[in-house]
């Protein structure tokens, strides 16, 4: 149990802290500083959000946004954006040159798979049971193929479906999503051949 006398003395001791005051005149400017901060916040709030966004990072949290500061940051952001754009376009162009030495003009542009005449293209080189078989030719061209080495050659692609394929249905289409096989949802033993637009007829 706390001794009453020592408890009283402790409280008296704590009250001594009331004497710790800031230097004389400290409070003369205190409210001015508070109001300055409030005015700065109010003027900042009056600026549209998109302009505040561009000005972030270069302004003090208490100061108003100046026009010169705003546009210097705007120019800096623009320069960074343009640099990133140039780097991206250059990277894509370089990757395409690595993939296709003759340049993009040697091949027709990428296009979605189309269903051609089933008899015009040979069936798939191999099939596995009743499941899905994909031709031995390279898969459909995609952005990923741009990074293939120079030796890669593109060939006509065929895809054949044989037997009943529970994996293929209207609710479970081909996983690649690059082409559709009308009638595949019915299963059955028909073989479907899929030809890409750039394959010979």
């Amino acid at each position: 149990m706390i001794d009453d006398e020592s408890s009283k003395r402790l409280q008296q001791l704590l009250r001594l802290k009331r004497h710790e005051t800031p230097p004389p005149g400290y409070f003369n400017e205190f409210s001015d500083k508070v109001l300055d901060r409030i005015r700065a916040l109010e003027s900042e709030r009056a600026i549209p959000k998109w302009r505040r966004w561009f000005s972030r990072g270069s302004q003090s949290s208490h100061g108003p946004i100046s026009e010169s500061g705003l546009w210097s940051v705007w120019g800096w952001n623009t320069a960074i954006g343009l640099s990133m754009l140039v780097a991206t376009v250059g990277g894509l162009y370089w990757a395409s040159r690595l993939t296709d030495p003759e340049g993009m003009s040697g091949n027709p542009p990428l296009q979605a798979a189309s269903l051609g005449n089933p008899s015009a293209v040979a069936p798939a080189a191999f099939t596995v049971g009743t499941g899905l078989a994909v031709g031995t030719g390279l898969a459909a061209r995609s952005m990923f193929e741009l990074a293939e080495p120079r030796s890669v050659q593109f060939h006509p692609v065929t895809v054949s479906i044989s037997g009943s394929s529970p994996e293929l249905s209207s609710t479970n289409p081909l996983p690649s999503g690059l082409f559709q096989l009308p009638g595949a949802s019915g299963g059955g033993s028909e073989a479907y051949r899929v030809r890409f637009g750039n394959s010979p007829r």
């Binding site: 003395r9 008296q12 004497h19």
Partner: protein, 215 residues
Amino acid sequence: MDPIAESTESTESTVLARPAPNAEEASEVGPCVRRAQAGDLAAYDQLVHQFQERIYGLCYHMTSHHEDANDLAQDTFVKAWQALKSFKGNSSFYTWIYRIAVNTCLNHLKLRRNRTTHLSLNDLDLQPENHPDLVALVSDKTPRREANLAELQRRLNEAILKLSDDHRSVVTLHDIQGLPHDQIAKILGVNPGTVRSRLFYAHQQLQGWLADWVQ
């Protein structure tokens, strides 16, 4: 008469420990609050003037750091201005702004917890330094006769800083700022019984740390 008692009683009106506003003071606050809620900065300036010393005192005693207290007191008034429209008058403005100040200080202390704390008391004016009664107390009433007032101040602040945030809050509000239990309960959003309990345990700890001075 006990010199320390006389010394403290004679300074009850010290600005940083000014008690809650009386009815007359509160009646002046109401119109200012309403004008400030309407966006009148001049009215808010009056409110800042009215409460700046108490809010600064609270922040200072919670942190024992002059610069931090300065920033926190300013932060409190800026936050209060931003939230002023949400002030419904369910509690007094005094209680409301004190709650903002306490929360601001507690958030600051949480962030500061891992930072090395040092006292910043050199630029504070410890008024009773030359008070004859206090000088007498320091030289005659303690087992360490060679100790001086600066030593007492250092020990006192170190002990208060060792308290948990909850305990320091109630000690600051009750023992230093002189607020009654029920008002502290409203400010902290706890029961008055919780306030008494926290005070009891805080006093126990402080008596252990300041045994040389209180026994």
